[in-house]
Structures are given as structure tokens and as C-alpha cells.
Symmetry: C2
Subunit: 331 residues, 2 copies
DNA sequence: ATGAAAGCGCTAACAG
DNA sequence: CTGTTAGCGCTTTCAT
């Protein structure tokens, strides 16, 4: 910038005005400045400008998810990124693997880079670091799961209600022995979906059979193992409600191995690619992931823009997609 | 930082020393500084420090891909991110949708934020903006595809060779009418895979039948339509080599609609989730995506660390996974 | 319409 | 061991 000013023979402030499109520069000078900027290869330095600027914005937000390569997370990231791009905001993305230590470090790395706001999937354990930054005024929205602390915007699916409906759907197809496989029970979503399962059972007047419940099932492999165990038990389930996308895949995979995919009904929470191309096609509760991402982005930008109202809790409805696996009658 | 210094009654530089773990501060003072930092709620400002620092590093790299929600891209991002995290480097991620304009804007946004390096999937059209930044010295590695310009590190799969092998594999199972469906032909990968297809045919002494080639197929829907068209033609193919993950899904979906999934052989380039759970399981050429991401990260960090050798071109071998769909004999 | 001076938060270089 | 001075690239404020 100094070089540009020197080349044109104006003050550095005049260059600054041209670069930022501020008024108070004559056409002639402005053109000369722009030409000089090209010849010296000038590149604005946003970190310097945001350091001095009144609002101090970095035009960058953080997105902290459990695993960026999970289809749910990557779809969410993409939706947030699209909204951010409309505002010329960039996204610093990180995976915390639900490890509180990793989350702490990533959070710190974001903070020292002065992000304007944060979209975060809170981890399963304690969330002290997150809460601390929230308390200090970092614009924040939790997505997918609620945080353990309050007073923070959230965007979630209607986990409980749609889980209840999934169980009722199984019940309407004659199912009475409906198993539940849930993710780690320290996750808000896992607990909500289990609550929905309980509500559904109760509405169907089916007593809870603890032998049909598997919590803390983590990933595809574990889900397959849990399914095998359930099916080998004395009174095996005739239907399964799978509480997460990887779990659903594990369940389906185990059923196929046993040739039971057309005998045992399955409904999974969260849609996944190719669910419609399996045999039978897998019925799921589909969360509108792009809508979750857009809503999360909208919330965080509203806060960044200074919205001071009490925390809002956006609930995005999920939808039951009947494709076949959930409509099998008990044998 | 000033507040901390004032509270302890030392100079600002002493605080800087403590914060950065530099030597030359007595235990006693250092402890007092740390305590004061907590009470005033001090947060280091990396943008300010990197502005002044000799190396000027932002400890941030850019990752520019076509679509962060594509499973290939999100796996790649994750692998790069993992490597970056080991170095306490954060990742600014963006999707350009293969739109040169969007890429230009994202690139500019990254540049003004002073990223230390860039991992990028070059877009299909012209890459002038990218080349310009490269020429100006931005550490850069192109991934998945080669750039149209030279002198830049690249990390790609052995597209041509593994495509050739896939075609030979079909040939060994008796196939003679092998169709090719490729992505947009301005993409390096699409052209390489087509070359591999040609080499395979030639080795099998099968003359090229242009009626069996569909290029510029973009996305699942288009691939399904193209497949239907091929199958309705006078001399339909008995096998298909699908040049990209979404295309493979489209092909498989079209075959299923026609009940031909056990009659027409399919090999897809690039693995995808659940390929092994379809009926028949889909044979694919699997790229080692995490390895691609790691290699790309390693290259860019080597350049950031000052490696000045000529451009390196890392080629990651891909592997043919025979699952069933590629081993069908012609009917 | 333009510029000079001050300073954002921090570190380099050099004193003491 | 500790402090002072200067200045990174830019914007603010105020003057001309």
C-alpha cells in the first residue's frame, strides 16, 4: 500500500480510500491508484485492516463438528458455508472427534484468530471451554445437539417427536418387539431419540423391554455386533429403530449377513446416501440438513449483527420416509 | 496484554515473553503474569502477532474443493485437516462448485486473509487466478486433478493406469461391449480415465465404438439418463465403466430400474459408502482418499517450510475392488 | 479532495 | 532478567 502510494505520489490514506471504495477521491487519482496497485501487485491485508478497524471483524466464522467426513456433518458444513459466502465470510472448519481436549484446542485456535462467531456441535462430555467463550460474548449457535448450558441459540431437529412417530409407524405395521440402538448416551440427541422411543412404546401400550435396548453404540461395527447379539437372544426383536446413520448401516449390514433383511423391520434416524437403493430400501427419519445449516448460519450472523434478544431455539421438523424396510410386518 | 502488564506492574514486553514461552522471565514474575492474564481474561490475538512476526505466518491454510459435501471431498478435507491439526494449523474451507468466478472470489478471500498455503482442486475451465497466485509465490498443491499450468506440486491417483486395469478386468470376464461414462471433459481426471479406457480397449483389441461413449455426464441424474439412452440403443453395452462416484450411482440406479443389475457389468471409479451393500455389490476402483489428503498436506507444509526443489508429482495408486458387479459375464 | 499523526495488539532489535 | 523504541499494514481522527 505504501508502494502504491509512493508510485502514484499520493498519501497512503488516499490509496486506502480507493481500495475501500470510500468517497473523497477524484476519478483521475483513483484510476491512477488502481493502475499502480496492479503494477506493484498490491494485495490488501485483511488481518491488518481488521486489526485497526472499528468493528474488528475478521469476516471469518468457525464451524466445529464431530467429524467433517461424516455425511451429516459435511452437508451441514456446506450449508453453513453457502450462507457465509453470501456475506463474503469464510469458514474455519474443524473436527473434534467428540474429544473434549481436541475441542478445547480447536476452540482456542479459533479464538486467537478472532472469529466473529461459531457454529458448533457440542461434544458429549463437559463443555466448560465452550461455555466460557459463550459467557465472554462469542456469538455462538449450537447445532444438532443442545448444549449443557443455556442462553445460547440452538438449531436442532425435532428428535423426540419424530422418533416417537417412527416407533408408532412400526407399531401400525404390527410390530410389538421393537429394539432401540442409540449412540453414546451422553449425547443430547441420543437421549432425545430414546425418549421418543419410550413415548412411542407407551402410546402403543408396549411395555419397555430393557433387553431390546442398546445404548452407547458407537459406529457401524459396534452397531452390527449389537444387532447380532439382539438377534441371538431368547426373544429377538422383529423391528429395530436405529438412532443414528452409522448405526442404521450397521444394523442393515448385520441383518443381511443373517438373511433377515426382509424379515426384520428397520427405521433409521437420519437419511444417508443410497438408502433408497438397498434391498429393501431403508425407511428413515430424514433431517433437513441443509435447513439446519442455513438456520444455524442465520442465527450466528444475526448475533454477529448485534441481535440481543434472548436465546432462540430453532427446531427443524424431520420427516419419515417410508421406503420399505420400516413397513415389514412381524413374522 | 496492556491490561495484564498494568495489573502486574511490568512492561508489556514481559507479558509477551510469558505468553510466548520465551526465556528471560523469572519464575515469580511469570507466575504473576499468568495469574493476571486469567483475572483480566486475556486472550492472545494471533492476527496481531502474525502481523508483526518475522515470518508473518497465519498458521492457516486454505482448502478449496469443488463441493465439500461430496464424500470424496469431505474425506479429503478431513485428511488434510488431521495433518494440519498436528501442526496447530487451521483450515479455511471453501466449495467452488467448479465455477471459475466462485473460485476467483474464494481465492481472493483466502489471499487477503494471508493463508500460508493452499490445497486446491483446480476447476475445469481456465485457472488464471490460481496460476497468478502460484506465480506470486503462494505455496500450493493441486489435488485430485492436475492444473493446466506447470511447476506446481500435485497429488493425484493413477487415474489412467487404474482405469486401464478396470477395463482389462471387464475384458477378462468376457466383456466386449464396454461403455464409458465420463464427467465433464474439461476435467483432467475425466480425460485421464477416458485415456485409460482407450488403452484398455486397445489392449483387448476391441475397436472403439463411439456410440458407447458418453462424456460430459454431470451428476447422478444425468448418468441415469445417459445409461437409459445407451441401453435403448441398437447395440447396447453389456458392461459399463463409470468414471466418477456420482456417475456410478446413476448407472446402477438406471440398471435397477430396468432390472438389469445382474445382467450388465459395472465398474465405477472411486469407491462410495454402501457400495458393498448394494445388490450386486459394486466393483470399484478405489482411490486412497486419506492418503491423497495426507500427501497433499505434507506437500504444502513442506513448501511452507521453505522446500525449494522443483515441483513434485505424487501419484497415489488406486486399487480395484472386485465385489460382484464387475465380474458379471456378458449375456 | 487530500494528507498527517496516532494507534489497533503485538513482536523485533537493541538497550540496560 | 527486564524495559524501550520502532513498526507490521492498515484505519481512524482531525486538519488542511
Amino acid at each position: 500500500m505504501r508502494d502504491v502510494a509512493a508510485l502514484v505520489g499520493v498519501s497512503i490514506k488516499t490509496v486506502s480510500r480507493v481500495v475501500n471504495g470510500e468517497p473523497g477521491v477524484s476519478r483521475a487519482v483513483a484510476d491512477k491508484v488502481r493502475a499502480a496497485a496492479v503494477t506493484v501487485g498490491y494485495r490488501p491485508n485483511m488481518t491488518a485492516s481488521s486489526l485497526r478497524r472499528a468493528d474488528g471483524r475478521s469476516a471469518t466464522i468457525g464451524v466445529l463438528l464431530e467429524d467433517l467426513s461424516n455425511p451429516f456433518s459435511s452437508a451441514l458444513l456446506r450449508a453453513v458455508e453457502d450462507r457465509a459466502r453470501e456475506r463474503s465470510v469464510l469458514v474455519l472448519a474443524g473436527s473434534d472427534d467428540d474429544d473434549p481436549r481436541q475441542q478445547r484446542e480447536l476452540l482456542h485456535a479459533l479464538i486467537v484468530r478472532r472469529i466473529d462467531g461459531l457454529v458448533v456441535m457440542p461434544p458429549g462430555g463437559h463443555q466448560d471451554a465452550l461455555q466460557e467463550e459463550r459467557r465472554r460474548g462469542l456469538p455462538m449457535v449450537v447445532v444438532d445437539r443442545l448444549a449443557v448450558f443455556a442462553d445460547t441459540d440452538s438449531v436442532t431437529a425435532d428428535n423426540r417427536e419424530s422418533s416417537r412417530k417412527a416407533v408408532l409407524h412400526l407399531g401400525r405395521h404390527g410390530q410389538r418387539r421393537i429394539a432401540f440402538l442409540g449412540d453414546r448416551d451422553n449425547l443430547w440427541t441420543a437421549r432425545e431419540r430414546f425418549e421418543g422411543y419410550l413415548e412411542g412404546l407407551s402410546e402403543l401400550r408396549i411395555p419397555l423391554d430393557p433387553a431390546l435396548v442398546r445404548k452407547d453404540v458407537c459406529g457401524t461395527e459396534a452397531a452390527a455386533r449389537a444387532t447380532h447379539a439382539l438377534l441371538e437372544a431368547e426373544h429377538p426383536p422383529t423391528a429395530v429403530f436405529a438412532g443414528q446413520n452409522l448405526i442404521t448401516v450397521g444394523v442393515v449390514s448385520a441383518l443381511r449377513e443373517r438373511g433377515l433383511q426382509h424379515r426384520v423391520a428397520v427405521i433409521g434416524f437420519d437419511d444417508f446416501p443410497l438408502a433408497d437403493m438397498l434391498d429393501p430400501p431403508v425407511s428413515v427419519v430424514r433431517q433437513d440438513v441443509p435447513a439446519l445449516g442455513r438456520a444455524a448460519a442465520d442465527r450466528v450472523f444475526a448475533r454477529i449483527d448485534g441481535e440481543a434478544s434472548p436465546a432462540r431455539h430453532v427446531i427443524v421438523p424431520a420427516e419419515l420416509i417410508a421406503r420399505g424396510s420400516g413397513e415389514i410386518a412381524p413374522s
